[in-house]
């Protein structure tokens, strides 16, 4: 799994690639926690290049969502591939998370 980061008007856009599973999720959680500790609480996770997510990856999403919100921000998802969307939907997370078609619309949603 790889994470690349860019900043668009104060919104951190994190592009994930590879798999978010039990092997990689601790690393993803550490990365996100560091981001939030550094005051970035408006985060977009671009998952376009994520080929696999399991329940271990959902834990990462849930943790990031709660922590950004506690800090007054939000954690929003963008560009979910079909398989990733299915897992997110099966867990019922589509009703508590904001999800966008692409990173661009997700980051601009913070400015509304």
């Amino acid at each position: 799994m790889e994470i690349t980061e860019k900043d668009v008007d104060g919104v951190a856009i994190l592009s994930f690639s590879g798999s978010l599973d039990a092997l990689t999720s601790p690393e993803a959680t550490d990365y996100l926690e560091a981001c939030i500790s550094n005051g970035k609480n408006q985060i977009v996770a671009d998952l376009a290049a994520v080929d696999f997510i399991s329940s271990a990856g959902l834990r990462v999403v849930l943790t990031a969502m709660k922590q950004t919100r506690l800090a007054g921000g939000d954690f929003r998802l963008a560009a979910l591939p079909d398989g990733v969307h299915k897992v997110i939907a099966m867990a019922g997370f589509t009703s508590i998370l904001k999800i966008y078609d692409d990173a661009e619309s997700a980051s601009s949603s913070f400015r509304k």
Binding site: S37, Q67, R69, L70, A71, G72, I96, L97
Partner: protein
Amino acid sequence: MPTSNPEHKRRVALVIGAGSIKCAAALGLQKSLYQAGISIDMVVGCSGGSLYAALIALGTETEEAERLTHALWTRELTKKRSISALLKTVAPRIFGFDENFGLIDDSLILSRLKAAYGEQTFTEARIPLYIVATDFETGEKVILEKGRLRDAIRASIAIPFIFKPWRFQDRLLMDGFMSDPLPVDVAIKEGADLIIALGFDSPYQTRIDSSPRFAFQVTTIMANHLLTSNFAFHNLAHHTEVIPVVPEFDRRIRAFDSDELHYIIEQGEKAMNEQIPYVQRLLGTQ
């Protein structure tokens, strides 16, 4: 773990779940919050709760809201059976049974909704308003946030078997309680920090002597279980607390007991008053 940002203004959501006339307790909650100087930043309503969510979002005074409810929600609403529904049930082929099925004639509720909400739309709401309905074809939960209020409300209160589904914004919609009886998830998604949730277990029928009562009983059993499990999940998924406000009634309140309206609102106010110090503590205003 990052700590909460003290400068961030906590957003308060009022979520009014399904519960027929009992949802009027929301007006008591509104009164109590207003007196405590706590502003509501968004309102979410489902089924009976949508009637009051809309009134609160429109900024209707409590007395006026009470008056409107008296004129709107009475037992007469379910008095008139739909003759065509009866015929369709007995001879589905001849009378063309379709998805527009409801045992009760809905002309009275339509005219009353029109009298109460007129042509007002979501844009006239002073604070963000979300009304929950269920897509009859796909089963999906649908969050309504634009268009004419009375259409959104009519969709959200389309009690299965009783009132026919309502076509709105290209979807055939049914009662929101079928998918999400107490939609705190909508407030979570919209970024509410503090969620005040007014929810009710629906009462079971004391006797089952008609098809509408039979239908009520079936859907009530399912919705009560759905309420419990959804609420448990959403409560745990939220980053701060969801505060359930449960008014206590010393007598049985039936779906259309509009004579009890004043009492229901009072009990809502009382239940909210008990939670005010806690809410203020969470908001950091005390």
